[in-house]
């Protein structure tokens, strides 16, 4: 019985770590989005450069930014997030995968 109480805590510490990863992803997303949009977009429109027809600030901030986030999320899911059971019964057989 006693060691059963330890396992849920371990799942919680994994969950806490993944919540922090969520915040880091959002922080990175904001920096990328803001940096390209206002870093390249604040000059006057006559000086804009264009990529595939889009103004460069928009292309990097919104289009590339979205693709980068989708790839990052996929990488995080594949390599960082851990699988775990959500129920407390039948814990033993699934603990190995944690």
């Amino acid at each position: 019985m006693k060691d059963k109480k330890i396992k849920p805590d371990r799942r919680f510490s994994i969950a806490n770590r993944e919540a922090i990863i969520g915040c880091l992803l959002a922080a990175f997303n904001i920096l990328w989005w803001y940096g390209f949009a206002y870093g390249m977009g604040s000059k006057s429109p006559e000086e804009y450069t264009y990529i595939f027809g889009f103004p460069a600030w928009f292309f990097y901030s919104c289009i590339v930014g979205f693709i980068v986030m989708a790839v990052l999320v996929a990488v995080v899911v594949k390599f960082v997030l851990k699988e775990m059971p959500f129920t407390d019964d039948g814990e033993e057989d699934e603990v190995d995968s944690v």
Binding site: A37, Y50, F86
Partner: protein, 487 residues
Amino acid sequence: MNWGVVIPLFIFLVIVFLAGIWSNRKMSGSASFISDYFIGNRELGGLVLAMTMVATYGSASSFLGGPGAAYSIGLGWVLLAMTQVATGYFVLLILGKKFAIVTRRYNAITLIDFLKERYQSKSVVLLSALSIIVFLFSAMAAQWVGGAYLIQTVTGISYTSALFIFTVSVLIYVIIGGFRAVALTDTIQGVVMFTGTLILLIAIVVAGGGVSAIFSDLIAENPNLVTPYGQDGQLSSLYVSSFWILVGVGVVALPQVAVRAMSYRDSKSMHRALIIGTIVVGFIMLNMHLIGVFARPVLPGIEVADRVIPLVALDVLPSWLAGIVLAAPLAAMMSTVDSLLLMVSSSVVKDVYLNYMKPNASHSHVKNVSMGVTAIVGIVAFILAINPPELLIFLNLFAFGGLEAAFIWPIVLGLYWKFANKYGAIASMITGIGAYIGIHFYNEAYGNLFGVHTVTIPVILSLIVFVAVSLLLKQKAYVFPHRKIGA
């Protein structure tokens, strides 16, 4: 009537009905009605979970209002809309596995069940139920109005008949199918939105003579349209950035979104939903708002923002295809309305009626009450939407921001801070809603306080109040139960 457009729309509605009926047959075999009706027995897979989150979140405003704003404001509004990419991964990662484990131990079916167990306070429950019922009911009735306008624009029938069709369609599948039907139809609707926006974007780029040509037309008209600052330079970088709170990270606190974070089957479903959700929400938001900007040179001079998408679709697409594409905003509205409807009736039935009025209700009694309340809420929304009162429009303005200000810290701190207690939660909810209403009026009268969106300051204030009050009236550190309660 334009049959070429109406027939695809009609086929779409029939498919949605069939999904509701199919879910109902699946449900009748299930043991626990209440858990199945309101949360689908926690067995959503990855694709359905991702789609139902995207579809619930992407409402009339993303499909009609948002692109309409992009039409008049330009690329700055697309930049603003892209803050929503975060909703694809943030909600599931923040509430994440801890929420999934804890809500299972609590036997929680609604967001309020979670708050009730965590804070052990009747005031928290009643305050939350009241906010959900008032704010979400208004948000829902406003979508009702949007749905009716869209059907009216496309078919040419009267507003009241359009409203009637919309109400009947939504009520039938929500009442008979519950959450599972909603999640399933959300998936169909999500797929329709995804493909609909893609088709329309391609069509409009072709109609405008390519991306480069469209941008030179825009610059020729007004160079500000291609800057991040809006057509009059009215969007400051600070203001646009504050939308990260309203439509990005704050979405964690929307009850209709949070409830989905307790409905998935296992961690594998959640992982898949993270990837699919991020891609789908980003793709839809980017395309939909770009369509709004690109529509400007293609079809200049549209006065009513909400009509940009329907008019452009009818203009650049053959009518049968326009019918399919216009099923997308209809899908967006229906999928938002159905979740809100279920959310409101679950607050009434589960959080108030079963908690405090009739805790020992029998299985069949609960079933009848759930379906009955869902029907009544829907019909009241219909009656209100026939002639929407000022109050409704007014409350709808508060709906998302108000709910976020009320719920974000009770949920997040309740989950991750052991010293979060009921006094902090109550104080934070009152501060959040109060400050939101106060600042709303201030901003209307004097312009945005500190140049940020209304939601920003209440969210910060309610955090400070939550932490201060929790520490001031400090209780023993909270420990989550180690196993299912009552088991």
